[in-house]
């Protein structure tokens, strides 16, 4: 204590403290710059720009819609006085007659609107003006239908959501019949899958044999049907393309989509699925890579396995099914090798199988966890004692010195 004073004179101490301050300021500035670059990530590529050839989607710049037969150059304003123009776009060239719900052109989009520009006109095909009633939110409460299992389904279709949907250029009658009011629809998960399968034949064929599809034929509607995975709200009218960043099927959102059912304790208990698949995935390398990838979709590196990369999607099978890509170490190793070339069985054995390690299941990891749990705490406690010891002694000495007159202490 006596000897520190001339080692660090006040000048050099101030210089050092100033240096610390400068370094901190530099760090803060760097952080701010980084924030600035990380911040404006709002320019997401959206599904308004997804011209898919087979679907007649014209893409984001062709926004010609008609209200009762009038074509509006809607790049300006849907509510502006309509001027009849002939724009040579895909929609009008193929004779698609669009309809915009004119009153709500500026209603902010709800839900999965990551990609949407609220002020963009709403664009979809509705030849028979179905949405003049079914798109009226004030009528939503009146329009419900009972499912066979007793639950009710709303017949309201959100025009905003639908104008974002991948099927927005399919007329309502593509899925619903020409005379939907005359037809009694069963409205089951199976009937929905069959309807999707009328176009998506390959996916349907896989699905109906899968662990999710097969039980539907027996009237079990617990497992997921098409829209349960392809829409975050299980709504067929807001399905967006699989790789749209707002899609429930986008790699970053897959785990949450599966978790709708597979993180439901009651439902999983019913089927004897004990693994905490969602939590274990989110804590894994794959899960952290996905969930902590950059916020800007343009910069995300989503080249990491999600649920479907290992388990399959439309053709998903029971883990115990020998055809499952994760059944048995041999199949599992082959699945790992899709991304980890040359992985082999031993590599696959390192996977904990969505389970916690315990004395029976990979005991080395279990005891390793226990050892390090105790070890880190014991050593850190020792470190605290090592600091607290001299610190306490110095403090006590100082208090004693203050209380006693200095002469006595010298004697």
């Amino acid at each position: 204590m006596r000897s520190r004073r001339h080692f660090i004179c006040s000048n050099s101490r101030a210089a050092i403290l100033g240096g610390f301050g400068l370094a901190l300021a530099a760090l803060a500035a760097l952080g701010l710059i980084a924030l600035f670059y990380a911040g404006p990530a709002s320019a997401h590529p959206g599904n308004t720009c997804d011209p898919e050839p087979g679907h007649g989607g014209p893409g984001c710049h062709v926004e010609v819609t008609t209200t009762t037969g009038v074509t509006i150059p809607s790049t300006t304003d849907t509510t502006s006085p309509a001027e009849t123009t002939s724009t040579a776009d895909t929609a009008s060239a193929t004779g698609v007659n669009g309809s915009s719900v004119s009153a709500g052109g500026r209603v902010p989009l709800g839900g999965s609107s990551l990609a949407s520009n609220p002020s963009a006109p709403r664009t979809f095909v509705d030849k028979n003006n179905c949405l003049s009633c079914h798109g009226d939110s004030s009528l939503a409460d009146l329009m419900t239908v009972q499912r066979p299992d007793g639950s009710s389904v709303s017949l309201y279709v959100d025009g905003n959501e639908f104008s974002n949907s991948v099927h927005r250029f399919n007329d309502c009658t593509t899925c619903h019949t020409d005379k939907p009011h005359d037809v009694e629809t069963p409205l089951t998960k199976l009937s929905l899958a069959e309807k999707c399968g009328s176009c998506h034949q390959h996916e349907y064929d896989q699905y109906i044999k899968s662990v999710h599809g097969a039980p539907q034929a027996n009237g079990n509607s617990d497992p997921a049907t098409c829209v349960d995975c392809h829409s975050s709200t299980s709504n067929p009218h807001n399905i967006v393309r699989v790789l749209d960043p707002s899609a429930s099927t986008y790699p970053k959102n897959i785990a949450q989509t599966c978790a709708k059912c597979h993180n439901d304790q009651k439902l999983m208990d019913k089927y004897g699925i004990v693994e905490k698949v969602y939590d274990s995935y989110m804590n894994s390398f794959h899960g952290k890579s996905i969930s902590l990838s950059g916020k800007n979709p343009a910069l995300q590196q989503l080249n990491t396995a999600t649920c479907v990369n290992c388990h399959g999607s439309h053709n998903i099978a029971l883990v115990s099914d020998p055809n499952s890509p994760v059944a048995g170490m041999d199949n599992l190793a082959k699945t790992c090798e899709q991304c980890h070339p040359g992985a082999g069985v031993e590599f696959a054995k390192g996977f904990l199988g969505h389970k916690e390690a315990d004395p029976a299941h990979i005991p080395q990891v279990f005891w390793g966890e226990k050892f390090f749990f105790v070890f880190t705490r014991v050593v850190l406690a020792g470190g605290v004692a090592l600091v607290a010891g001299p610190f306490a002694r110095k403090g006590v000495d100082r208090i004693k010195r203050r209380r006693k007159p200095p002469k006595k202490e010298e004697e």
Binding site: A34, G350, F351, V379, L380, G389
Partner: protein, 271 residues
């Protein structure tokens, strides 16, 4: 490696040379990579914390963070290899027993007991240390153990496919446990023990610069390494209490530098 023995040439003015250039470079490599590894690794372990997610966002996602983590890892591995070569050269080529000073001895246990007595008030004398105190030895050997765990585990996690060809499959999840737990231990130890003894201790506050300059002030060396100090002074034929009064003109009672009291200039107010 001119700082290995208790020789008279260690004295450099008011300082005693303690670290040679290799040790200083190794320390710079070690602490810079340690800080980078800690600030990129901990958010990955505690990834559900809000601050981690904010910090990972600052870096533009976990992929960038991992890249920096791997880069810093190679710096740390290099410093480990550098130090291993340093030890081999010192022991085998130069035939200096210097590194063996780091090995624990029975005297270290006695020193610890003496210190515990001093801390709890059973003794008025703390232990006197030679070249390395038991705490420094533990620090050093713990870093050695920690580096083996961190580098071994980290390489398994960096090259899991290759690791699974050599090691059993469970080595990969085991490496993750060991790597992340040992990391928390290392960061905790640095924040508690190293931060106190190298920065906050009254003898060195705000920072012990000797690992950068290589030199320790005489008075500090006498307190921290009394036995080796005595050996050096004996080798140099200098008295043990050489220049306390000569070196320190400031009276002992003065706790530190005092700001001169500036009298406020009074301006006569116009009446």
């Amino acid at each position: 490696m001119a700082t290995s023995g208790a020789t008279a040439d260690r004295i450099d003015g008011d300082f005693i040379r303690r670290f040679d250039i290799h040790q200083r470079i190794q320390h710079i490599m070690m602490f810079s990579s340690f800080i980078m590894l800690a600030i990129t690794g901990l958010p990955m372990k505690f990834s559900d914390w809000g601050i981690s997610q904010w910090w990972i966002g600052v870096w533009g996602g976990i992929d960038n963070l991992r890249m920096v983590h791997h880069g810093a890892a190679w710096v740390m591995i290099s410093s480990f290899v550098y130090h291993a070569i340093y030890l081999v050269v010192c022991l085998v080529v130069l035939r200096r027993p210097f590194p063996t000073h780091m090995l624990p001895r029975f005297q270290d246990v006695k020193d610890l007991i003496q210190d515990v007595k001093y801390w709890v008030g059973l003794s008025d004398e703390p232990a006197k240390y030679g070249r390395f105190s038991y705490r420094e030895k533990f620090d050093y050997l713990a870093v050695g153990w920690g580096l083996l765990i961190m580098i071994g585990g980290g390489l398994i996690l960096m090259f899991p496919v290759t690791a699974a060809k050599i090691l059993p499959g469970w080595a990969i999840p085991f490496a993750l446990v060991a790597h992340s737990d040992e990391a928390v231990l290392a960061v905790g130890w640095i924040l508690i023990v190293h931060m106190y003894f190298a920065h906050l201790h009254p003898l060195v506050f705000p920072m012990n610069k000797s690992i950068f300059t290589g030199k320790v002030p005489l008075h500090q060396y006498r307190e921290e390494h009394a036995l080796e100090y005595a050996q050096i002074m004996a080798a140099a034929n200098l008295p043990l209490e050489p220049a306390e009064e000569v070196l320190s003109p400031v009276p002992a009672e003065l706790p530190g530098f005092q700001e001169p009291v500036v009298q406020e200039a009074r301006v006569a107010e116009p009446v």
